[in-house]
């Protein structure tokens, strides 16, 4: 198939396994974000795709061709490093032209392509400036332009925006996504910022402990997390223990939840309910009873902490939608069956 395929890719450093048996296929033109806490193996996986680290097992295929043993400089890819790695002895234009010069392109072709790329990154006329005279965001763009100079098959970015301040980062996320859509290039970004991943990606790959925990669209990752790690790592959530009788009907804190069924054979499971899906009503009427312990009114949203069955449940809504609640008040918690996601153990 066209695109990138990782087949059982494994990387061991001595006795430590950084990446274990990763299976992933990235169709051509997709924007993938690899998301996970530090040390989860996401950067190692990206470096193996780039050829900067050799996998200890498995294979990497690009457009059907096995590139596992192909050295980095023959892989036809562009990479943006966390440090950006702009060459300090070259000007902006020379940095962008570097890959063209290596391939022996003529001076005229180099200049034409550099001007094209400078226009693409909204820095026209910056070609002769030294790299040291640029701001953080401008350097970022130059690094991107340099990586794209040869129109590579694969565009890899390792925590590309982490050095920028929050406002600029948000703007660059949008810009990067628009650029990728314009060029239709297969892109893989490593990040630990879930907002970044949700903003840019077609597919979010959540990693932990060297494994892929879930690979799906951002909204599916959020709505249907596969396991407790993904549910907890992406956004905030309420993880609630449930039990089921022989028919599968589930009970939460001793209250049966009509319509919620656990998969056959499961007696106990953890379910995830997003705070905005927790509804509070008056106690009784089959609702789960709880006591409000704290109300955090943030203006735009209001978070209500409710203690029920010895656990703390968080409910979020807009202040307009929430009837006045105060700490110490008795409330009823209503969970619709379709918002309860049963997680893998």
């Amino acid at each position: 198939m066209s695109g990138l395929v990782l087949n059982g890719v494994t990387k061991q450093f001595g006795t430590f396994t950084a990446v274990e048996n990763v299976q992933l296929s990235v169709p051509h033109g997709t924007f993938v974000c690899m998301l996970g806490p530090s040390g989860c193996g996401k950067t190692t996986l990206l470096r193996m795709i780039a050829g900067l680290d050799d996998p200890t097992g498995g294979s990497i295929l690009l457009d059907g061709e096995d590139i596992t043993k192909v050295p980095t400089h023959k892989r036809n890819l562009g990479m943006v490093f966390q440090s950006l790695a702009l060459f300090p002895h070259l000007s902006v234009g020379e940095n962008i032209a570097y890959p063209l010069r290596i391939r022996g392109k003529g001076r005229e072709d180099q200049k034409k392509r550099v001007d094209e790329l400078l226009a693409l990154i909204h820095l026209p006329g910056y070609g002769d400036r030294p790299v040291s005279k640029l701001s953080g965001g401008q350097r970022q763009r130059v690094a991107i332009a340099r990586a794209l100079a040869l129109s590579p098959k694969l565009f890899l970015l390792d925590e590309p925006l982490s050095a920028l301040d929050a406002k600029l980062r948000e703007a660059m996320q949008v810009e990067l996504r628009q650029l990728q859509q314009k060029l239709g290039i297969t892109t893989i970004v490593v990040t630990h910022d879930q907002r970044e991943a949700m903003t840019m990606a077609d597919t979010v790959v959540v990693m932990n402990g060297g494994h892929i925990r879930q690979a799906a669209s951002p909204i599916e990752i959020y709505r249907k997390p596969a396991d407790t790690f993904v549910a907890d790592f992406i956004g905030s959530t309420n993880l609630i223990e449930t039990t089921a009788d022989s028919s599968g009907a589930a009970t939460i804190f001793g209250h049966s939840v009509p319509g919620l069924l656990l998969p056959a054979g499961l007696q106990k499971a953890t379910i995830s309910v997003r705070p905005e899906d927790v509804h509070l009503t008056a106690p009784g009427n089959g609702a789960i009873n709880g006591t409000v312990t704290f109300v955090r009114d943030l203006g735009g949203t209001i978070e209500t902490f409710v203690e029920a069955g010895g656990k703390q449940i968080v409910a979020v809504s807009t202040p307009r939608a929430r009837p006045e609640v105060t700490a110490g008040q008795q409330v009823g918690i209503v969970l619709a069956p379709d918002v309860c996601v049963v997680l893998k153990q």
């Binding site: 780039a50 050829g51 900067l52 050295p71 980095t72 400089h73 023959k74 892989r75 890819l77 562009g78 990479m79 490093f81 966390q82 440090s83 790695a85 060459f87 300090p88 002895h89 070259l90 570097y98 890959p99 290596i102 391939r103 340099r146 990586a147 100079a149 040869l150 890899l156």
Partner: protein, 284 residues
């Protein structure tokens, strides 16, 4: 943070010690040498205070000019050989695991503990016909019979490069360890083979360090006077050898001083020229 300018004499206190050391151990001896270089030599005796240029005039001959030229050429060659050998070596060293790096550095430091005399005689043995390395080549069948490689220019060069190489590595090492490793990786992702990336990324990025190292080794090699005598023929003797000869064996202090002053001036001129060219290249 902006510091306040020193107000009183006491504020300059910390400078007194280094200034005193410099005065006693550099300015006074060097000044004495300059003064002596203008003195009149007494035949068979010592010298008398005077102000004559005869010592400098004597130096301006084809013979001494040739020796000066050879000394500078030898020092430049040693500097270039050292940097060319040490740069790839130190780069590969900086990529090794920490523990291996330490072992290598300790080994290099132990070479520094050898005296010039020991290095000279060790190499003269290695280059000899009877016990030298050519015997190994004969054993391997690569040569018909053992030959003497010393005395020769190659032997002098080898000995001096051997002596200066540890210094070169130790000067280059911190710069290479500090160099952002992603620069080389970025070059590889942009289509440059590791060898090409070494020449078109690492070398230009370390230009100033390389320049400083060249100057350091050049000056170090310029002062060498034992190795050329042990491993070379008289035509491979450097100006330092002649200065020693004049000062100690011919008892001609004024002439020795004149040669030393001249050597210092030429060296300073060359270093200044190098820095000037380096600065111009940076602007371009």
């Amino acid at each position: 943070m902006k510091r306040e300018a020193p107000q009183s004499i006491a504020d300059y206190g910390p400078l007194f010690f280094p200034a005193g050391m410099l005065l006693v151990f550099f300015v006074v001896p060097f000044g004495t040498m300059i003064v002596v270089s203008f003195f009149q030599r007494q035949q068979g005796g010592f010298y008398t205070p005077a102000f004559v240029f005869s010592n400098y005039e004597r130096f301006l001959s084809v013979f001494f000019g040739g020796v000066l030229g050879f000394s500078l050429m030898l020092a430049v060659t040693v500097a270039i050989c050292c940097v060319v050998l040490a740069l790839p070596f130190t780069y590969l060293l900086s990529k090794l695991p920490r523990r291996l790096q330490v072992i290598w550095l300790v080994a290099l430091l132990s070479v520094l503990s050898l005296s010039e005399v020991i290095i000279g005689f060790a190499w003269s043995t290695l280059f000899s016909r009877t016990a030298g390395i050519t015997n190994i080549l004969v054993q391997l069948g690569l040569m018909k019979q053992a030959v003497a490689l010393s005395p020769s220019f190659g032997a002098v060069l080898t000995g001096m490069v051997y002596q200066a190489l540890p210094y070169t590595v130790l000067v280059l090492y911190p710069a290479l360890v500090r160099l952002d490793p992603t620069l080389m990786e970025a070059a590889r992702t942009l289509g440059s083979s590791p060898v090409r990336a070494f020449f078109n990324v690492l070398v230009p990025a370390l230009r100033n360090t390389i320049m400083a190292t060249l100057i350091m080794v050049f000056i170090f090699a310029l002062g060498s006077y034992l190795l050329p005598q042990i491993l070379g023929r008289p035509q491979h003797w450097t100006l330092s050898v002649l200065i020693t000869d004049q000062a100690i064996y011919q008892s001609n202090m004024p002439f020795a001083a004149a040669m030393a002053v001249f050597l210092v001036l030429v060296t300073l001129g060359l270093v200044a020229l190098t820095l000037l060219i380096g600065r111009k290249g940076e602007k371009a």
